[in-house]
Amino acid sequence: MTVVRRQAQRRWTLVGAAVAVLCLLPAAVAAWPQPGVTADPVKLRDQILRSAGLPYQGYADLHGETGLPDLPMLGEFAQLLGGTTRVRVWHASAQSWRIATFTATGETDTYRSATGTHIWDFERNLLTQTVGEAVRLPSAADLMAPDLARRLLREMSPADRLEAAAARRVAGVAAAGLRWIPSDPDTTVGLVQVWADPATGLPLRVEVASRAGRTAFTSHFLDLDQRAPSAELLVPSRPSSAGFSVTTAQDVASALRGVGATALPATLAGRQRLAAPAEALAGRGVAAYGAGVSLFAVVTLPGRIGSQSLQAVHEGGGVTVAIGGAEAYEMQTALVNALIMRTPGTGRNRRTYLLAGSVTAEVLRQAGADLLATGQVRP
């Protein structure tokens, strides 16, 4: 071997070793032993449920793999459950917070304060104020780990299994974990895992898995500071060049009245209609049914949106199902099942219903059949 070749070999060995170290570094960090944090799952759950007043600010990822079709009325909800959403949150209290949802080219900021909700939409150059509690689909704020964990854990029934989960590091915090296995055979949710700061009980990571055991939704912090955010960050600014609009919860209800004006029955598929705020809207064609994590919503869709949604589900891989004489398609995903159904008839007598939730397809079909059987009741 020549001197030059030996030198080359030495240099390549050196570079190769350095590259190998760099490549192995992430795997080594991931394999680093997790902190030995243990917590009694019942006590941890209680601590989580008491954490609602804690302030925090940070950067988080919401990741869903449910693959819902892009229906006209789902808006950002389909993206939240079927992709990765980057969010930044500043949370002073349940009545005072801001959450920014990042997109590649813009941002939507939701501010909650005593005066209502303000939404800044950069891409529309518009600030919207909503007064009162409007009816809406779940947003990024509802799916942040602290809110989601508390909302889910409140639904536990005594028959469900609650176990400790292995500790893991989340956003630099050695978090204690719990594992909840719902006992209801009619839900699509097979497992919920929550990791929380054992010192404060603030949930830091939530994983929701399907019956098949596949994690279908994850909400977790990447960076976290458990101090109250500066008050000035929680006040929306209104640029002089931007538009401004005010809407009220009543506006939304009025719009819904125009949608269907259809009263929905008190029970569907053997499940009770949920009480307020959904109760107030049941006469306007919107209601939620069930209990625990077996929940589904029924929405009466207006003519054009109904037709577009029916077409979107059909073209998005919806499977035709037979429910009486109705035209019906269903979509099954890991966590959320949906059924869209247009009743027989013509003109004003014809209704389009969307049924969707974390229940099995059989439950939705039964609910659809019940809707057809009970008919539509004029409020």
Binding site: V4, R5, Q7, A8, R11, W12, L14, V15, A18, V19, L22, P26, Y59, E65, R88, A100, F102, T103, A104, T105, G106, E107, D109, W120, F122, E123, R124, N125, L127, L222, D223, L233, P236, S237, R238, P239, S240, S241, A242
Partner: protein, 269 residues
């Protein structure tokens, strides 16, 4: 050696022609927008372009978004790919190495020359697009709205555009280092350029693929768009820091590989 390389860069017509073409593309876009007054749909890429009709002072940011995905990396890959392979194919590499300068220093000088070219290109794109933006559109530098809805002062706007330019420039160094490494492997400048572009396209494809989520944080283009975070309020530094660190790793790794190959290479031309 560094001065020699910089002088060579400045004297090459190709340098200025490529920079002029980079500046021309956003200017062309601005002219079409100004004439037709049809802005892209809000939320569509390139970032900020839909907002420039209302405020031309934002056009430098839109111009960076226009050249970043393809044209700027192509220009950097061409210069990086030509760095050593161009000298070899032109028969001048032997004469370069006759000078009492180590090959490592030559490599470092080439990288610095490439860095200067990248910085110059980004600067020229930003400056010309600012001039074009304020000339063709209504301009209110003191009323630029951040992505988060707050209003920037002129000083804040200038600082943020300067930071975005710096970030975009650094983002190009990873591609430049890959091209420089490939340039030490072959005598074909075109081959080295195409190789770097192939790596770039592969990275762009994998970044969008959910199935490649485990490797996404390590792809060279993963954090390219993080410069948009500089126009949020408050600025989220997380992705920007990761983007800078990632580019530093790519430059270090590919420069080390270029060094390992070039310093013991049998140079025949």
């Amino acid at each position: 050696m560094i001065f020699v390389e910089l002088r060579k860069l400045a004297r090459r017509p190709r340098t200025w022609v490529s920079i002029a073409l980079l500046c021309l593309l956003p200017a062309l876009v601005a002219v079409f927008l100004a004439v037709n007054r049809i802005a892209p749909r809000p939320g569509s890429e390139p970032a900020f372009l839909f907002a420039v009709l209302a405020n031309g002072a934002l056009f430098p940011a839109a111009a960076l978004a226009i050249v970043l995905p393809i044209f700027l990396p192509v220009a950097v890959a061409v210069v990086g790919g030509d760095a050593i392979a161009g000298e070899a194919s032109g028969g001048t590499l032997r004469y370069l190495l006759l000078r009492p300068v180590s090959r490592t220093r030559l490599l470092v000088a080439k990288l610095i020359s490439l860095t200067v070219y990248t910085g110059l290109a980004v600067l020229m794109v930003a400056v010309t697009s600012y001039v074009v933006g304020v000339s063709l559109f209504a301009s209110q530098p003191a009323a630029v709205v951040t992505v988060s809805g707050t209003t920037l002062t002129t000083t804040e706007l200038v600082l943020r555009i300067a930071a975005a330019m710096g970030y975009v420039g650094v983002s190009m160094l990873g591609v430049g280092a890959i091209a420089l490494f490939l340039s030490t492997l072959t005598e074909s400048a075109l081959g080295a350029t195409l190789g770097a572009l192939a790596a770039l396209i592969a990275s762009q494809v994998l970044v969008t693929l959910d199935a490649a989520g485990s490797v996404r944080p390590y792809l060279p283009t993963r954090y390219w768009l993080a410069w948009i975070d500089l126009f949020r309020d408050p600025i989220p530094w997380r992705d920007i820091e990761r983007g800078l660190a990632l580019q530093a790793v790519y430059v270090a790794v590919f420069l080390a590989m270029a060094w390992a190959n070039f310093t013991t290479k049998d140079v025949k031309s």
